[in-house]
Amino acid sequence: MPQLGNLALAIALILAVYSIVANIYGARRGAPDFVVSARHAIWAMCAMVTIAVVVLWTALLRSDFSLEYVAAYSSTTLPTVYKITSLWGGQQGSLLFWTWLLSIFTSIAAFQNRRRNPDIAPYALAVLAGVAIFFLLMLNFVTRPFDLLATVPAEGSDLNPLLQNYWMAIHPPSLYTGYVSATVPFAFGAAALITGKLDDGWIRSTRRWAIFSWFFLTLGNMFGARWAYEVLGWGGYWAWDPVENAAFMPWLVMTAYLHSVMIQERKDMLKVWNLSLIGLAFGLTLFGTFITRSGVISSVHSFTQSGLGPYFLSFLITVTLAYTALLIFRSKDLRSPAEFESYLSREAAFLFNNLMLVGIAFAVFWGTIFPVLSEAVRGVKITVGPPFFNRVNGPLALGLVFLMGIGPLIAWRRTTTSNLVRSFAAPVVIGVATGIVAAAAGLRQWYVLTAFSLAAFVLGTVLVEFRRGMNARRHMVSEPRAKALVNLVAKNNRRYGGYIIHIGTIVAFVGIVGSSFFRTEVKKSVHVGESFMIGSYTLRFQGLDETDTPHLESATARVQVLNADGREITVMSPAKLFYKRPQQPATKVAIRSTPASDLYVVLAGIDDSGQTATFEVFLTPLVFWLWAGGLMMVLGTVIVMWPNVRERAAIATALSRSSAGARELGDLGAPGGD
C-alpha cells in the first residue's frame, strides 16, 4: 500500500510538470487541444494526490505502524476521529493535505475556466501547477509521508493530547483551506501580469475565491483562538505568538484586498496596489509555513524543526522576485487614467483603510521577525511580546473602526457637506451618547471610551444604511417592514452581507476590548469546603473525583458557584488529566459563559492528599461577544457568497444586449462572475 502512495505522488509530479508545458504551449501557439490536455492532466494530478491521501488515511485507520508517519502520530487507542485528523497532525501529512487542497482547488479552477478566460486561464493554471510542483517535490524527495520503519513497533506514539480536541480537529483544515485558496486569485493576478491582460477580468474571475479564502482564514483564526481559550488554560485566546501571527497576517492582507478591488472594479484605479496585495497575501501564506517549519523564530509552539525551512525560503524568495519583476515589467501598462478627487470620498476611505490594514500586517510582521533582525544586526536576540503588538495595533484598530463607519456611507468621488450631515448626524449622535453613558457608568480608560463610542458610531451607520434601503423598497414595492428587510438583503446580498460582516467585526471588537481591559484574575489554594471570591461570585471547593481509564487518569474538582445573594448558580468541574501515552498532563478548563462575562476556572494543582487544590480563576467580561461576532461574520460571508439567481439572470440578459449594461449591473453590486 505505501508503495501505491509513493507512486501516486511521483505520477502527480510528472502530471503537474506536463500541465504547465501543455498549458503554456497551447496558449502561445493557439492550440486549444493542448490546453484541453493540460486541463485533463490537472484533473489526473488531483486524482493521484487523492489516492495518496486515501492511502495515508487507510494506514492511519488500520494503525499500520510500518509507516513512520502512522507510528509517530497515531496509536491503536486513539479515537477514530483523531485518527482521521492525524492526517494533518504531523509535518508530512499536513504538507500532503495542503497539496491535496491545492490540487482540488486547481481542478475546480480548471473546470470553471474550461470555456471562460481563454487568454489568462492557461497561464493561471500553469502558475497553480507550479506551486503544486513545489509541494510535490517536497513530498517526493524531502519529507516523504510514506517512509517505512525498519522495525515495526507494536504501538504508535499517539497524537499530542493538546491536539485531541474538536477545535483542533477543525482549526488546521480551515486555516489550510484559507491559505491554499488564496493561491487561485494570486495565480490569476500573476497570469494577468504575464499576459498583459490587465483589466479587472482576473479580479472578477476570482472574486468568489478571494471571499472563500477570507472566509476560511476568518474561521481558522477564530477556531484557533477558541482552541487556545478552551484548552490552554491561561484565560486568554490570543498571545501574539509567531504561529498565530502567521495566520493573522494573510487575513489582514486579504481583508485589505477585498476592499481595494472594489475601487478597481468601480474606478479602474489601484491596479498595482491590488496586484501587490494578492502577491503579498500569497507570499504571507508561504511565510507562515516557513516560520512554523524552520525553527528560525522561536515559538511557544515548537513545531517539528526540519530541513524544510531553506526550501520554503528559497521558494518564497523566488516567487517574490519573479512577481516583483513582472510588476515592474508591466508598470507602464498599469497606470490608471482616473485619479482621486477628494478626501471626502469612498475611494479615499478605502485607501486609508487599506493603509491601516497593511500597516497592522506590517507591524505584526516586524514584531514577529524582530528577534531574527536584532540578532543579525546587533548580535543579541530581542523579542517583543504582546505589549508591543497591543500598543501598536490598539490605536490602528481604532482608526480602522472609524473608517469602517465612514467608508460605506460616504459617496464615491466626492461628498457635499449636506450629504455628510444627512448620512452621519444620527450615527455621530449614537456614538457620542454611548461614550457619555459609558463614562457615566464609571469607565475611565480613554481607549475603552473611544472604542465603545466608535463601535456604536459604526453600528449607527449600518443601521442608517439598512433603514435607507428598507424605506426605498417600501416606497417602490410597498412591502411590510420585515419583508422589505429580508428582500433588501436577499436582492443585494453582496452589499448587505458585507454590512452584516461589519456588524460582526464590531461586535467581536467590543468583545476583544472588554476582555482585554476588564479581565480579573484570582489564584488561590483552598482546602475542601473552603471558598473564595472573584467579582460578585463565591466559589466553594467541594472535593475531588478521581478516575482511571486505560487512556488517561483524571482528577475533577467540584466547584460550587454562588452569586452575590449566596444562591447556588452552578457547579463547575475543572479537571487535571494525565494522558498515559505519551505521558503528559493536561488541564481541562471549566467555563461558564454569559453575555456579560465568562467565569473561567482552572484546576492548577492538587496536593497528594487530595484535600487541597490550587485554582486559577478568571472573570472576563464581554468575551462572549468575540465568538458571537465571529458567528455573525460567518453568517455575513455566507450571505455574500450565496448565489444570487435573479441577478445572474439579469446579468446574462444584459450581457446579451450590451457589454456596457453588464458593467453597470456590476456596479450595482451584482456578482459579475465568480
Partner: protein, 149 residues
Amino acid sequence: MRIRPRFFIGGGLIVLAIGYLIFSSIRTTSEYYLTVPEVAARQSVLGGQAIRVAGRVKPGNIAWDPNSLTLKFEIVPIPDVDDAGAPVKPVAATDPVSFRVVAAGEPKPDMFAPGRDVIVEGKLSPDGAIAATQVMTSCPSKYKPKQAQ
C-alpha cells in the same frame, strides 16, 4: 495610477504614524531573549532589564509550594544536538552554568518537569537569581518521535 499630492500627504501621515508607533513600542517593550550561557556572560549589564531565558530544567532542587504558588528550580543550558539528534554535551547534574529561578504567584505549568525545556520571563535580581513573572514550557505542538519505540 495618479494620486494627487495631497493624498500622498494623507497617506504619508498614516505611514509615518504607523512607523512611529512601531518604533516607539519596540523601544519600550523589548526583552532580551537569551540562552543561559548568554545570561551568564552579560550578567553585569542585565540588572533590571526584562529578559526571556531559554533553558532546561535541571533535575533536583525543584521546590513547589502550592500555598504561596511559588516554584523554585534551576535552569541549565539546552545542550546542542548533533545531526542524529543526540546531545553533544549531556546535561550533567554539575553543569557549571546554572541559574536559580523563583517564580511566585503563578501556578506550575502542566508540562513542567525535570529535563524539560522552558522559557522563563522576568528579571535578574541582585542575588543572581531570575525573578520570573512567567514560566512557559515549550509545548510540542507536533511531536518529533526520536525513534518510535
